[in-house]
Symmetry: C2
Subunit: 154 residues, 2 copies
DNA sequence: GGGAATACATTTGTATACTAATGAAAAGTG
DNA sequence: CACTTTTCATTAGTATACAAATGTATTCCC
């Protein structure tokens, strides 16, 4: 009888440490996949642009008009504190400009500069390379599948 | 002829800004899925244990003997600088202990305390909840698939 | 045995990322 | 119109994450 206490197969609730494989947990797997992608991104992207910086700048370049800082943040899934730092660094590098909104005086209006637009343009084929390198271990069908499943998780 | 310059369908190289959908990029999708998972984790996990802290502490609890700090880091995919901070915070909370290795005097040996082991034990059913909440949008088959594909990307 | 290469740990610096608190401006409501 | 709520932006604090530089200890190998 004493044996049962240490036999994981008797623990039907599944909360035994022995049965838990860290590498097969969704959070751990997401973190590691993201880690590898960011390494590839860092190796290939132009001018040391980071993934977040690329996302924010891309959104500014593709969108019709300028946007407020917070609105830009929401459109790339960054909170106010995070997007502030990103915009600051983009601005320090001359890729975006910000100015006070004259109508709504709480707001800052953020806009891509010509330099920022050109960098995004030049980065497009690089992004294709980054995607290819990241997705290389997957078949074409698997690439579609993982994007579909990740979208469901968001 | 002038029209062709602005028609994205003529750009067979696929590097036109218009054809690039940020939300469908692997990096962006990974970041957002990870973000949602970490929110769920933060809402449910005991004692404010973070995902990284949980991983490191879990590894210590499940492994037979104590480990050096760097070895522990490697086993949970964290570099030396990152694992140092994680171990410091775990130690400050009395969940792990570290001591100089008497054989190899470069090393610090890290070990889970009784308190750390009990926390991991108590966290196991919580992890099951976190996994369930994170995976909720997926069918059982899709859950298996995404874990398999994420593993391939790592 | 001794020099080169490697491994361990730390520190500094930069970049996300989120919480919570604050203050100012705008919007909504009775 | 006055009051409440919301929105915008900033700041401080905490926690990953990685690169690069440093110093010490160990291992490799001739």
């Amino acid at each position: 009888m004493d044996d049962m206490k240490h036999d994981p197969s008797n623990d039907s609730s599944g909360d035994a440490i022995e049965a838990y494989v860290l590498d097969e947990q969704i959070g751990y797997a997401l973190r590691k996949a993201n880690q590898r992608h960011m390494t590839i991104f860092g190796e290939k992207m132009l001018d040391g642009l980071t993934p977040t910086q690329f996302s924010a700048l891309f959104r500014l370049v593709e969108s019709p008009g300028p946007q407020s800082q917070n609105a830009l943040g929401r459109s790339v899934a960054m909170d106010a504190a995070t997007i502030k730092g990103v915009v600051n660094r983009l601005e320090a590098r001359g890729l975006v400009m910000s100015r006070k909104d004259e109508v709504d005086r709480r707001r800052y209006v953020i806009e891509a500069t010509a330099k920022g637009r050109e960098l995004i343009k030049a980065a497009m084929p690089v992004m294709a390379e980054i995607t290819e390198a990241t997705m290389a271990p997957l078949t074409i069908a698997e690439r579609r599948t993982i994007l579909r499943l990740l979208a469901k998780l968001s």
